[in-house]
């Protein structure tokens, strides 16, 4: 089963993503911080990561950097409330940049598209 790691410091949002993405038939793993995400990636190696940027401690961009240096093959979707991070060149390392919205269809479509491209089903 395809596993999606959702990294967000907002517990309620994690809940929403868990429910929505599970409905798509994916196994959802949750991380509340960058540090937890790094640990979980090493332990379980998810198929795709949905990563919030603004977080306490290790933020999304720093986490992304750690992921890139350890395992480049896992696709990362940056998912943030801020559209302005797009100008930060570090975000270009990610596979997609999505501005948070109550309508998660865009996120789901992007996850599906990337997974298809990487031939993960």
């Amino acid at each position: 089963m395809t596993t999606v790691l959702v990294v967000d410091d907002d517990a309620a949002l994690r809940m929403l993503y868990e429910e929505e993405l599970s409905n798509e038939g994916w196994e959802v793993t949750l991380a509340g911080s960058g540090e937890e995400a790094v640990r979980l990636i090493a332990e379980r190696r998810p198929d795709i990561i949905v990563l919030d940027i603004r977080m306490e401690g290790l933020d999304g961009l720093e986490t992304l950097q750690k992921i890139m240096t350890s395992d480049k093959s896992i696709p990362v979707i940056l998912n943030t409330a801020y559209s302005s991070y797009k100008d930060d060149f570090r975000t270009w390392a990610a596979d997609a940049y999505i501005v948070k919205s109550s309508d998660l269809s865009e996120l789901k479509t992007t996850v599906r598209k990337i997974l298809e491209e990487k031939n993960v089903t």
Binding site: L13, E20, W92, A93, Y97, S101
Partner: protein, 574 residues
């Protein structure tokens, strides 16, 4: 007459003159020639001998008596006496002429002094009109040069005409009597008279007359032009005998006048015309000569005042510019404040996005989970829809506050149009909207911000779609026009009411229930940042056409693409 003791004596002067001055050293002293004695009681007793003898004693009966007695003795004596007499007479006439010359010199000095005084009076921080008035007053006042009237002509700005500027004096005999009567009663000093400048004077009849007179500077047969060009005073005692004076005489209604040039350092400033139109006193050449120093001073004063006037108006302009600058600085400060507020609200908007995602997200979940027929389902749907609307508003508002500086790359507009149309293709199909493309095939590559132009087109297309809830046709065309490319997007929708047309580019103004009111203003802002413009035509019930005109800017050289514009690795920015 023989003396008492046989010696010849001189006449007894005290008796001849019957002066009765018994204290005089000559009294009862007949043996002395009285004119040789100092300190007599006669007229001019304190003067030195030469002077006293010449002016007084040589004409005194005492001397004449002695002279008579001396006459006729010998030829030699006679000859010497005659010579002496002639020399005396010559001396006397010399003396008289020297005295007269002195008197004239004194007068001239006084005149010069008054000219100097008047001249100094007109130098000062006066306006041009004031100076002109002072010059003319000095020429006409009794205490000044005393002409009946004076007219001032100045060379105009283009240097083509000699134009009447101002006049001082009466316009007829009656007025002359009235004015002069008043002046002689008031007896005001000249300097004070010169300062009685009043703008209403320009409205007087004589001024209006002179203002209408103008002579071209290239006319050969005009006495004013001649005086100015040759820089010399011209006296015209009889107009009828001088053809060159006719135009002036006719304009000023005078039959004798004089022209004085106003020239400073080769710079021809104008002329002054004076006449004695009421008193008919002939103008003497010597009088004119004595005015010459004054007119050259007047030329300087007029020139300076004109420069001053110019300077003053330039100062005024400068002051205005300074004020404008200051107000603009305030505007800039204000817009900086606004920008600051914009950044604040952008931060705020981002902070709002998280909770909104939550509210809307869970509402959507509820919509999925609840039975579609239930009341709760509909309520959850409402929450989800409203949150979507708020999110759209937030996105548009954030775009408004974003930096709209375009980033240019060489692009083909038609490709951008096609790309944009692909984005809305499914939506159009859903709403039974037909899309017609009419794209020119001769468009050049031009520098454009692809992303921004797409945003503009999407906004305009969304606008068109919203105006056709029951379907219709969107026609998109591109055409090259001189140095521009024009994109036109037409719809067959509801159109825009005349009363709404002026507001459609205002932020937050919207006529459709789904719109945020930010699409068109955003499009407008982007196009303006690209040095283009958007225009609109619309008829209610027939549809609207939006035209985007963009200047063709070509890449000058093959540029290295800035790093910031490189697309990221396989990333699809949504």
């Amino acid at each position: 007459m023989p003396g008492e003791e046989g010696k010849p004596t001189l006449p007894r002067c005290w008796e001849v003159k019957q002066c009765g001055a018994t204290e005089c050293p000559l009294y009862e002293n007949p043996g002395v020639a009285c004119w040789l004695v100092d300190n007599t009681f006669c007229e001019g007793k304190n003067r030195p001998f030469e002077n006293r003898f010449l002016m007084t004693c040589s004409r005194c009966p005492v001397y004449l008596e002695v002279r008579k007695r001396a006459d006729g003795r010998r030829i030699a004596d006679k000859a010497i006496l005659a010579t002496f007499d002639r020399m005396l007479n010559n001396l006397y006439s010399y003396h008289i002429s020297i005295k007269e010359t002195n008197r004239i010199l004194g007068q001239k000095i006084a005149r010069l002094r008054s000219v100097q005084e008047i001249s100094e009076a007109i130098l000062g921080p006066y306006k041009l009109e004031q100076v002109l008035y002072m010059v003319l007053t000095a020429l006409t006042a009794g205490e000044g040069f005393g002409f009946n009237r004076a007219f001032l002509f100045l060379v105009n700005n283009t240097g083509e005409f000699l134009t009447g500027k101002m006049a001082v004096g009466p316009c007829d005999h009656e007025e002359a009597m009235r004015i002069w009567g008043r002046f002689s009663k008031e007896k005001r000093p000249l300097k004070e008279l010169m300062r009685t400048w009043d703008k209403t004077w320009l409205e007087s009849k004589i001024n209006k007359t002179v203002n209408l007179i103008s002579f071209p500077l290239n006319s050969q047969d005009n006495v004013l032009v001649q005086s100015l060009m040759e820089n010399r005073i011209i006296n015209v005692p009889d107009v009828s005998s001088d053809k060159r004076a006719w135009p002036v005489a006719e304009g000023l209604k005078t039959d004798a006048f004089a022209v004085l040039p106003l020239v400073k350092d080769q710079r021809r400033i104008g002329v002054v015309v004076v006449d004695n139109f009421v008193t008919r006193v002939p103008i003497a050449d010597e009088d004119l000569e004595s005015i010459a120093p004054f007119t050259s001073f007047a030329a300087i004063a007029i020139h300076t005042a004109a420069l001053n006037d110019q300077l003053r108006s330039q100062l005024k302009d400068l002051d205005k510019a300074h004020k404008r600058l200051r107000s603009q600085r305030q505007i800039i400060a204000r817009s900086q404040q606004l920008a600051q507020m914009g950044r604040l609200s952008a931060d705020l908007a981002h902070e709002i996005r998280n909770p909104m995602t939550l509210i809307g997200g869970f509402a959507r979940l509820l919509v999925q989970k609840l039975p579609a027929t239930g009341e709760l389902h509909d309520k959850a749907q409402i929450i989800a829809d409203e949150v979507s609307r708020l999110e759209q508003l937030l996105n548009d508002a954030l775009k408004m506050t974003r930096d709209e500086t375009p980033r240019y790359e060489p692009e083909n507009i038609n490709f951008i149009i096609m790309e944009t149309l692909n984005l809305i293709a499914s939506e159009c199909e859903e709403k039974s909207i037909r899309v017609v493309k009419n794209l020119a095939d001769d468009l050049p590559l031009m520098l454009l911000d692809r992303q921004k132009l797409k945003e503009v087109l999407i906004n305009l297309l969304q606008n068109a779609i919203q105006s056709m809830p029951d379907g219709g046709t969107i026609t998109v065309s591109s055409v090259r026009q001189d140095g521009n490319v024009q994109i036109a997007i037409s719809d067959t929708g509801i159109g825009i009411k005349e009363s709404e047309k002026e507001f459609i580019f205002n932020p937050f103004y919207t006529s459709s229930p789904g719109g945020t009111g930010l699409g068109l203003p955003l499009a407008n802002r982007i196009v303006e940042a690209m040095s283009g413009n958007i225009s609109m035509e619309s008829k209610v019930g027939q549809g609207s056409t939006f035209r985007v005109t963009l200047p063709i800017r070509k890449a000058e050289t093959e540029k290295v693409t800035p790093l910031a514009n490189l697309p990221p690795r396989g990333m699809s920015v949504v």
